[in-house]
């Protein structure tokens, strides 16, 4: 099964290739028979109702769980924990008002946190971490304790930590939740910039499609036990979205051709 994916992906620029992939736990299949491929350098929005299995896809890509059936390959490899090519920002992070660790040190953990033994080469690593902070416009926050940062600032630091190891794929699990509209838009623009500058492939889980519409290269919908992917212009229509969510969703176009999606948040939480 692995050999088969190796031969198919070797010739193509696809970073992620899934074939007849079925995901789930011993007694419960989350979704089945997904076949898709994601080319290098794309910004992919992963959408779907709560509990549909969006995070399950990330767990497969991180090697935290194995497919029940079919295959998934990341750069022609079977995903495994500790894969250097993957940067990951999970949904919730334990930062409270006593977490006094400075942003720079936190980012540096993304570089050497998995290494055994005492801390060596700190000066060089701090430079690399500083570069990652610069890439997300957060150099000024380097010496700030995490507890002093706002939600939007924290997301930038998490992004820098995920980027510091120079990954090819970034998995971002709901980085936009709990941000206001302005910060949402600025974080999306920032991620877009990183995608373009570094050629990183981004999979971003979100509930609301609207902040992502201007930058998405591809949309992946996970709902009703199925995974569907497509270009935004084909997927983001009233008919296809309503069918996916099983609820009335409207896609509107304004006078400048910009899209807006209505009803998706309600549909996502209703499930």
């Amino acid at each position: 099964m692995n050999a088969q994916t190796n031969t198919t992906t070797a010739a193509s620029p696809d970073v992620i290739v899934a074939k007849n992939l079925t995901a789930g736990y011993r007694h419960k299949i989350v979704w089945r028979d997904a076949t898709f491929s994601i080319p290098k350098g794309e910004f992919v929005g992963v959408l779907g109702p709560n509990g549909a299995g969006k995070t399950t896809l990330f767990r497969l890509l991180l090697g935290a769980m194995k497919p029940l059936d079919g295959s998934i390959a990341l750069n022609t490899d079977e995903p495994r924990q500790g894969h250097a090519h993957v940067g990951y920002v999970p949904q919730r992070r334990p930062v409270d008002d006593a977490t006094n660790i400075e942003a720079l040190e936190f980012v540096r953990l993304g570089l050497n946190g998995h290494r055994w033994g005492l801390d060596r080469g700190a000066a060089k690593e701090r430079k690399t971490a500083m570069k990652a902070l610069k890439a997300v416009d957060a150099e000024a926050l380097a010496r700030q304790p995490l507890s002093a940062l706002s939600g939007g600032e924290l997301q930038r630091i998490f992004l820098a930590q995920a980027l510091v190891g120079d990954p090819e794929v970034l998995l971002l699990d709901e980085p936009l939740s709990n941000l206001d509209i302005r910060r949402e838009a600025s974080l999306v623009q920032l991620i877009h910039k990183v995608v373009k500058e570094r050629g990183v492939t981004v999979l971003l889980i979100a509930h609301d499609l609207n902040p992502l519409l201007p930058v998405l290269d591809r949309v992946m919908y996970i709902t009703n036990g199925q995974v569907a992917t497509g270009k935004p212009e084909t997927v983001i229509t009233s008919a296809s979205l309503s069918a996916l969510y099983g609820a009335p969703i409207e896609v509107l176009r304004d006078s400048r051709g910009r899209l807006a999606v209505l009803g998706i948040e309600e549909a996502a939480h209703a499930h």
Binding site: Y88, P94, G113, H114, G117, D119
Partner: protein, 294 residues
């Protein structure tokens, strides 16, 4: 042992000269042992304590010390060294807590329930033993002035082992403590680390009981580290501060108690508490006015 210290201190007066004062104190073997064991325990407690605090498992550490009380009392009853009982019980307790996962170590009700039962068990063991009052007192509140040369050696070897393991685990444990999900994704064995760490906490608790007793473990293991967490923005600095606070409190506690007939543990806990309080107050008054951020 309490009578020894009174006898030793009798006639000795505070001389306002640290060198001669210390030289005089260290003529007594029990004072030497106390300083040696106290120093070793303060260093290990500072290192382990920092991780206990950033992992938010201080109540688990507190619970372990109470589990240790039953072990120490049981050992005394059987005529064994209390340290052996402490090590067996706290390690068992640590493994059980770690086996239930990190979230279990944060469950106050379950830990509190086991803790109360273990204290009850300890009381039974102690009452079955004839020297009831003194033994219970020294296990509960520490008896640093009763530490023998052998105890110092055992403490030193155990501490060296704990520190050696910590030197290997340092960065992955830090990563797993601050950022468990990402650490796991990076291939850090977070569950195994959690189990090893709880064993290290158990061992550290056991040797620290000699100095401050099971009821006051918090003062050496958690309070200095909590102060450090507030002051340090880098983990290495945090560990250094935790060690310094633990050392200063132990040394000053021993020093003062040589002249004043009150328990060493009281002075140690007072110093760590005082430093913590001052730190919080200073931080609270210096906290800048929040400004709008982009």
């Amino acid at each position: 042992m309490r009578t020894d210290i009174f006898a030793a201190a009798h006639g000795s007066e505070f001389g306002f000269n640290l060198v001669t004062d210390l030289r005089e104190m260290w003529q007594y073997a029990f004072m030497q042992h106390a300083f040696e064991a106290g120093t070793i325990v303060a260093i290990v407690a500072g290192v382990i304590g920092y991780f206990v605090v950033i992992r938010r498992s201080s109540f688990a550490a507190h619970g372990l010390s109470h589990i240790g009380f039953a072990g120490a009392a049981g050992a005394v009853l059987l005529g064994l060294n209390p340290l052996a009982g402490l090590l067996v019980f706290t390690t068992g307790g640590g493994l059980a807590m770690a086996g239930l996962g990190r979230k279990a170590a944060a469950r106050d009700v379950e830990i509190g329930t086991v803790l109360a039962f273990m204290l009850g068990l300890g009381v039974l063991f102690i009452s079955l033993y004839k020297g009831y009052a003194t033994q219970a007192y020294s296990i509960l509140f520490g008896e640093i002035l009763g530490i023998s040369a052998t105890d110092v050696w055992v403490t030193g070897i155990v501490a060296a082992l704990v520190l050696a393991v910590m030197a290997v685990l340092y960065r992955p444990l830090l990563f797993a403590s601050l950022d468990e999900d990402v650490a796991a994704a990076k291939g850090v064995p977070v569950r195994a680390l959690g189990i090893i760490f709880m064993v290290l906490v158990a061992i550290t608790t056991s040797i620290a009981v000699q100095v401050v007793g099971v009821l006051l473990i918090f003062a050496l293991m958690v309070t200095p580290a909590a102060t450090a967490e507030r002051l340090a923005k880098r983990p290495a600095q945090g560990i250094a501060i935790a060690i310094i606070v633990a050392l200063l409190s132990t040394w000053s506690g021993l020093f003062v108690s040589y002249y004043v007939p009150y328990p060493v543990s009281f002075f140690i806990t007072s110093v760590t508490f005082g430093v913590y309080l001052i730190t919080r107050l200073v931080i609270a008054t210096r906290r800048r006015v929040p400004v709008a951020r982009p």
